[in-house]
């Protein structure tokens, strides 16, 4: 009885209504808190976006706002927020992006995995009803936009819409750089079988293999995504000049990430930044090897969604900076990875993974609290060990996702 009520909630209408209601309530509550309390609900980043949007609406560069490190597209999109009574416009856009991402999840699960509406809805609810996701977007953080972009990318690729996929990929990389890790996975995935051209014979020679690999669709995706990415960059550079390149791109390579965050490299980078002779660029190596090469090579053809999830997970885990907003980048793929995964098949494994993931963060946050608010020097060993422990927990979870992905056969999942 109760399970049938619950499963009826996963039908599209209640699923999306509840998700929208959750966001509406948070949005209104947030506005109330902002108006009545000195402690703000709205994220500081949202003030950065809206300040930048105000500059843009006055014909100025969004980079006139310190710490605006995003594409001008974001500021353009939020131009309505320059009007005081439309201040929440951006939050509404981010919340709608959440819902759109959820709709794409349902669509991929139903059309491309053949799932029932209720079952697809139940998995989509992991994203749509997730309080963390809803809070982040209603506080005005733009990560939800990345969710919709990456899910749209997966939907376009699996639906064999090559041009659309290329455009979204180029746009996504322009927006936040990291989606470039999906390019090798998608290219690798786009073989004849996945594109529905039937299995052809193996080419006899190496040259033949190369020629076969350079299929028109792969070239089309590459060209469209590259020209979208470069086209947007040239346009923004033309309008805003060097500050666009400095703040949107170079900053992420050259930044000294000394302020404490979840990254295993954090304390190391703090120490290194105080010593001008050191360089820490080699930290990119394990991150890029895993997320751009090894993981897509082994998993992409078997299960593109799980590959993208594992790649993102590896990218965030091995990144030089890691904050909880980045967790959203891989959480969007959970509804696609979880069906048939060992975390659901063996609930003990799934619950252990979730608990350890939460505990790892809690241990770190406790150290962070002591540093940030009490002024105790917890950098070493407390916070350092907590960040390494969280890193190793994440590696263990990543191992599970990879094993699942490597053994997965999409067709079998379809039958479930």
């Amino acid at each position: 009885m109760s399970s049938s009520i619950l499963s009826s909630l996963f039908r599209p209408a209640p699923l999306f209504s509840l998700a929208a209601l959750l966001r509406l309530v948070l949005l209104l509550y947030g506005n109330w808190q902002d108006a009545h309390s000195a402690v703000k609900y709205t994220d500081i980043d949202y003030l950065v976006f809206t300040d930048a949007a105000r500059y843009v609406s006055n014909g100025l560069s969004p980079y006139s706002r310190e710490t605006y490190r995003y594409t001008p597209l974001l500021a353009w999109m939020l131009i309505p927020t320059a009007k005081p009574h439309l201040f929440s416009f951006g939050k509404v856009v981010f919340a709608l992006a959440d819902l759109l991402a959820g709709w794409l999840i349902v669509r991929v699960l139903r059309k491309q995995r053949g799932m029932s509406a209720e079952r697809a809805g139940a998995f989509a609810a992991i994203w749509l009803w997730n309080p963390m996701v809803a809070t982040i977007s209603t506080r005005g953080s733009s990560e939800g936009l990345l969710g919709v972009l990456t899910m749209a990318l997966l939907w376009a690729v699996e639906g064999k819409r090559v041009s659309v996929a290329g455009f979204i990929l180029g746009l996504g990389v322009h927006f936040k750089i990291y989606p470039f890790i999906y390019a090798p996975a998608i290219i690798w995935w786009m073989d004849d079988e996945h594109l529905g051209k039937g299995v052809s014979k193996l080419p006899a020679s190496f040259a033949g293999a190369v020629i076969k690999f350079l299929s028109p669709q792969r070239i089309q995706l590459t060209l469209i995504s590259l020209s979208t990415f470069m086209g947007l960059n040239v346009l923004m550079y033309y309008i805003y000049g060097t500050p666009f390149l400095t703040h949107s791109y170079f900053h992420h390579v050259t930044r000294i990430d000394h302020r404490h965050n979840f990254s295993p490299y954090n304390i190391f980078l703090y120490l290194a930044s105080a010593d001008p002779s050191s360089s820490s660029l080699h930290a990119f190596l394990p991150q890029l090897l895993l997320s751009c090469l090894f993981i897509p090579f082994v998993i992409a053809k078997k299960d593109l969604a799980t590959s993208m999830m594992a790649q993102t997970f590896a990218f965030v885990t091995f990144n030089k900076v890691c904050t909880s907003q980045y967790f959203l980048w891989y959480m969007i793929f959970l509804p696609l990875y979880l069906p048939g995964s060992s975390m659901l098949r063996v609930p003990r494994l799934g619950i252990t993974a979730l608990l350890l993931w939460v505990l790892g963060q809690a241990a770190w946050l406790q150290q962070g609290y002591q540093l940030e608010f009490l002024g105790d020097s917890t950098f070493f060993p407390g916070m350092w060990l907590a960040s390494l422990a969280f890193f190793l927990i994440n590696c263990w979870i990543l191992g599970i996702v990879i094993s699942d992905g490597a053994e997965r056969n999409i067709q079998k999942v379809n039958m479930m």
């Binding site: 902002d34 108006a35 009545h36 309390s37 000195a38 703000k40 500081i44 300040d51 310190e66 710490t67 079988e193 996945h194 299995v199 000294i256 000394h258 302020r259 295993p264 490299y265 304390i267 190391f268 120490l271 930044s273 105080a274 930290a283 394990p286 895993l290 090894f294 993981i295 090579f297 082994v298 998993i299 053809k301 078997k302 885990t317 091995f318 540093l371 940030e372 608010f373 009490l374 002024g375 020097s377 917890t378 950098f379 070493f380 060993p381 350092w384 390494l388 890193f391 190793l392 590696c395 263990w396 990543l398 191992g399 990879i402 094993s403 992905g405 490597a406 053994e407 056969n409 999409i410």
Partner: protein, 498 residues
């Protein structure tokens, strides 16, 4: 060269002018309770040639120093700045290299000013004619300055007397040096605090020396906004008898009633709150005058205010702040101190005093600030001293009040350029939080130096372990089912049939 030495006494003090002995080479008098101001005006040719050469590249230069020690003063010497050395200047040419200036400034002690980026640009939002560039450095005492300056400026038969006078700077609480290219003159003003001191003024070896023994007075016809002064004046070598003086002038800087203390709320964490406690919220003038209280902060780079955080009205109101009227630029909101080139930043905050009945009581303002990361230290802590802010009521006045006519006027204190020229500053007297220093100490958590030997290896090992673990999982997956869907499906089905 002209010198003027003023002894300024509290109002109720009395002295018989006959006690003053005026000789041809000096003025001598009994010990009296007074503060002392020594003002010297020099022309460029009277300066050592190197110094004159340095100044010729500048349009104006202003050095302002205040002691970190608490001291008592009297109107009209009531102006206050944050303790430390404040340097502002405008070069004649835009591509001016501050290196020569910085080398000269080393006379004060080791100052970190060699890079042009250390100076911040003041051009925004200030009165025209304000200096262009600004630099601040903490400076505890003038002892070193007096010692180093001796051989440079003291020469000839009066060298010994000159060095002795320089030594007096040890006890000074404030020192101003100003140069501007229009008058081509250098004005030096030093102030000694209110205490019992003997009147003793030697004649200047090269010029006129004027001595005044003054206190507050009320000349007839004095206007409400003016300060009246009475006493005796004498010019060494010119007058045999002290001549009585009674005059009034409009003063830019006044003393407000009450006092304030500044302290950091505990625990400080990485986002400390500076708490300013004022003893009264009563404005210095009656209701009709447009007066508002302000705090002008001088923040070394270890600490900063976030201009964006200080933009929200509700947030400001909860801290008893009205507005952040000025925050110097640039202020990087993320960079650690060791990569921040600017010396630090200035902030002008308008305070929001309680109204009505509560106005007579003491009140508190909270200034939210943020710490930058500092270099590793052996203990995991680094101590920093943040100078007291200047707290004052600013009352709007007529555009041209003629403050400059005042013989004791003081300009270019940093905050004055942010107000209209007619503004009167009513200074609230700073009281030390503890002891006698107008410095707020704060302990900044940093990573311990000893961590580096563990963190480098430990992080590498952990990352390697994680990387290898993930790689093993990938290889395991690859060994089982390759990289292709087709192969996997076939193999899987084969397995199932067994």
């Amino acid at each position: 060269m002209r010198e003027r030495i003023t002894y300024f006494r509290p109002q109720d003090a009395d002295m018989d002018p006959n006690q003053l002995e005026i000789h041809d080479t000096k003025v001598q008098g009994p010990a009296i309770e007074a503060l002392k101001e020594h003002k010297i005006t020099l022309t460029l040719p009277e300066l050592p040639s190197e110094l004159a050469g340095l100044l010729r590249d500048l349009e104006e230069l202003h050095l302002r120093w205040a002691t970190p020690a608490s001291y008592n003063t009297l109107e009209p010497f009531s102006s206050r700045i944050s303790p430390g050395l404040h340097v502002s200047y405008t070069p004649l040419k835009e591509d001016h290299d501050p290196e020569k200036l910085c080398t000269a400034l080393q006379a004060f002690g080791r100052l970190d000013c060699s890079s042009p980026d250390v100076f911040i640009n003041l051009s925004d939002g200030r009165q025209p004619g304000s200096p262009a560039l600004f630099f601040y450095n903490e400076l505890e005492k003038l002892d070193g300055f007096a010692k180093r300056l001796g051989p440079v400026v003291c020469s000839g038969p009066a060298a010994a007397e000159c060095r002795k006078q320089l030594q007096d700077l040890k006890d000074a609480v404030s020192l101003d040096m100003s140069y501007d290219s229009t008058s081509e003159s250098v004005k030096i003003q030093a102030l000694w605090p209110l205490q019992k001191r003997e009147i003793s003024v030697p004649a200047s070896p090269k010029g006129r020396t004027e001595v005044g023994i003054l206190s507050r007075g009320a000349p007839p016809g004095m206007e409400a906004h003016e300060i009246g002064v009475s006493g005796v004046l004498a010019v060494i070598g010119e007058t045999k008898e002290p001549s009585p003086a009674l005059f009034a002038f409009a003063a830019r800087h006044r003393a407000a009633s009450g006092s304030f203390t500044s302290k950091f709320q505990q625990p400080t964490g990485l986002h400390p709150t500076l708490q300013l406690s004022l003893s009264t919220a009563a404005p210095p003038l009656d209701e009709d005058a447009e007066c508002a209280p302000y705090a002008y902060l001088t923040l070394p780079k270890v600490i900063f205010a976030d201009r964006y955080q200080l933009a929200d009205e509700l947030f400001l109101a909860s801290k008893n702040l009205a507005a952040a009227k000025y925050v110097s630029e640039p202020v990087d909101l993320e960079a650690p101190a060791y990569t921040t080139k600017e010396w630090g930043s200035n902030v002008l905050l308008q305070l929001a005093p309680p109204k009505g009945k509560a106005a007579a009581k003491d009140w508190t303002v909270e200034v939210p600030l943020h710490l930058r990361y500092l270099k590793p230290s052996p203990t995991g802590k680094e101590e920093a001293g943040i100078p007291y802010p200047a707290v004052f009521w600013a009352c709007g006045g007529e555009e041209d009040v003629g403050y400059a006519v005042s013989p004791f006027d003081r300009l270019n204190l940093g905050y004055d350029g942010l107000f209209s020229p007619g503004t009167t500053f009513w200074h609230v007297s700073p009281e030390p939080e503890a002891g006698d220093r107008l410095i707020n100490n704060i302990s900044v958590p940093v990573v311990t130096e000893g961590a580096s030997q563990w963190v480098g290896v430990g992080t590498a090992v952990a990352v390697a372990l994680g990387f290898i673990w993930v790689l093993m999982k990938l290889m395991g997956g690859y060994a089982k089912s390759g990289h292709d869907t087709v192969a996997k499906t076939a193999e899987d089905e084969g397995k199932k049939e067994k």
